[in-house]
């Protein structure tokens, strides 16, 4: 009787183990070759028409008087739906791992003293800054984050390639990070996002900014023309406005936030710039799905 029970239990455990293994197998995409870049594309969603991966390798974000160069790659990935006949843009679909826009910290030149200068700060802030300086906690990172959901992004890779109109509309917020600034120091929020209307064509910003031009990129096809890649792509926007920073300095926010606001200077339209340079890849969801199915 015991022997029989043990056999049944063992068999059941084996079935569970095999089921778990097979489920793990189906959950993990087995994309090959150049398709691996679309591993996080929701291509199984029937509404998704294209898989998109855009890696920004360099560029800069100028917010008022502060310029932050992009030195660490930032990835935007996910899917694009059908092209809307009116807007000529496609709704974006979130990456399957939830990382639609990678949170990549970029170093803010000048560090903490660059955005909270010792001289113009009240005594309490000054004392705290001194502590952070003495403990070498002066580095400040600026991280670009999605301010809304992925579906609030819209994209037209055709416009990007053709250097026409807005190619990427994306709501973002800038997270300023340093122990002194606390965890909630942001410029932009989900209710008041910074909206970038990125173009590979030429901008027409309000003064004092001047027109700048993007570049569609050098087109190249991969995987027998199932993937199109735009290398050295450059998309720009220098007509956006940014709200005032919020939540900087933890419990001293009421003291620190106004200092940072003053340091950033005017952040209304005409004073800010975003230049993103990198590589944009896209492939029909059908191609990516087929590649997945061919390599189970």
């Amino acid at each position: 009787m015991h022997k029989y029970r043990a056999r049944v239990v063992c068999s059941a455990m084996l079935v569970v183990a095999l089921t778990a293994l097979s489920l793990a197998g189906t959950a993990q995409a087995k994309l090959t070759g150049a398709f691996t870049r679309f591993a996080q594309c929701p291509y199984k969603n029937t509404e998704v028409r294209k898989c998109i991966q855009s890696v920004t390798e360099s560029g800069e974000v100028v917010l008022g008087s502060k310029k932050v160069p992009i030195v660490s790659p930032v990835t935007l990935q996910g899917g694009a739906g059908p092209v809307d006949e009116i807007t000529e843009m496609s709704k974006f679909y979130a990456a399957t791992n939830g990382v639609t826009l990678s949170k990549t910290p970029q170093n803010v030149p000048g560090g903490l003293l660059g955005i909270v200068p010792d001289a113009s700060s009240p005594p309490l802030v000054k004392a705290l800054i001194k502590f952070f300086l003495e403990n070498s906690l002066t580095g400040v990172n600026s991280t670009l984050e999605l301010a809304k959901t992925a579906s609030d992004i819209s994209i037209s890779e055709f416009r990007i390639a053709a250097e026409e109109g807005v190619g990427l509309k994306i709501p973002v917020k800038v997270h300023l990070e340093n122990p002194f600034l606390g965890k909630n120091c942001y410029v932009g929020s989900s209710t008041s996002p910074i909206t970038w209307n990125m173009t590979s064509a030429t901008t027409a910003p309000p003064a004092p900014n001047k027109a700048i031009s993007g570049f569609g990129g050098e087109g190249e096809f991969l995987e027998e023309a199932r993937i199109v890649v735009l290398k050295n792509n450059k998309i720009v926007d220098n007509a956006w406005s940014a709200p005032a920073p919020t939540g900087c300095g933890g419990i001293l926010s009421f003291l620190v936030t106004p200092i940072i606001k003053a340091q950033l200077g005017t952040t209304s339209a005409g004073y800010n710039t975003a230049i993103l340079k990198g590589t944009v890849s896209s492939s029909p969801a059908a191609s990516v799905k087929k590649n997945d199915e061919e390599h189970p």
């Binding site: 053709a162 590979s200 569609g216 190249e220 096809f221 023309a225 199932r226 735009l230 029909p284 191609s287």
Partner: protein, 206 residues
């Protein structure tokens, strides 16, 4: 003082030689000729490409029938013209997943002119615009209109009476065609034959 004058003279002479060299290599405008006589009035050239393909790295599009209609004339001794029709048929790609659903020349006529580069005659076609509608659910540019734009320079061969467009002719004339905002390669050999008043007459450019 004399040395200075000699040096200046030498410099001027060198400059003159350089100018002469550049004048030769730059465009000394040739004219259209039939049976070695300069064309008077206008003439229409009709023909079809012997072979023609356009390549964006990774995707080549070929057309079996690439016809053209070119109206030519000489203006102040310089050969000029207008490409008025470019019907394109039976176009395919080298990709197993991309088809050519529609292809057509846009914004015709395209102005053209003759020029010489280092004594070799070339035809320059400006304002080229060709729209290609690719199809295929697995094609990266399926349901997308890809537009080829730019200026094309082709080598004119008086012996074979052809105009040949390839990377060498584009480089020699400093011209280029673009699609998806990158330079593309276009290869084509186009016979040139008069259709109106100078039928079966030898066409040359000099």
């Amino acid at each position: 003082m004399r040395t200075k004058a000699t040096a200046l003279g030498a410099a001027l002479a060198a400059l003159a030689v350089l100018c002469a060299l550049f004048a030769t290599s730059a465009s000394a405008a040739p004219a259209w000729k039939f049976e070695s006589k300069s064309l008077e009035g206008t003439e229409v050239i009709l023909g079809g490409a012997l072979e023609s393909s356009m390549t964006i790295p990774g995707l080549t599009t070929k057309c079996e029938n690439f016809l053209y209609k070119l109206t030519i004339k000489n203006e102040a001794g310089t050969g000029k013209g207008e490409v008025t029709e470019v019907p394109l048929y039976n176009c395919t790609t080298d990709s197993p997943v991309c088809t050519v659903d529609k292809i057509g020349a846009e914004k015709l006529p395209w102005p053209s002119k003759l020029t010489t580069v280092s004594t070799t005659p070339y035809i320059i076609i400006e304002g080229v615009k060709v729209g290609i509608d690719y199809g295929g659910v697995e094609c990266a540019v399926g349901e997308t209109l890809v537009t080829v734009t730019g200026t094309a320079g082709g080598l004119v061969d008086n012996v074979t009476e052809t105009a040949t467009f390839n990377s060498s002719s584009f480089t020699a004339t400093g011209t280029s065609l673009k699609a998806l905002s990158s330079k593309i390669q276009w290869n084509g050999v186009f016979p040139t034959e008069a259709f109106q008043w100078h039928r079966e007459q030898a066409l040359s450019v000099s």
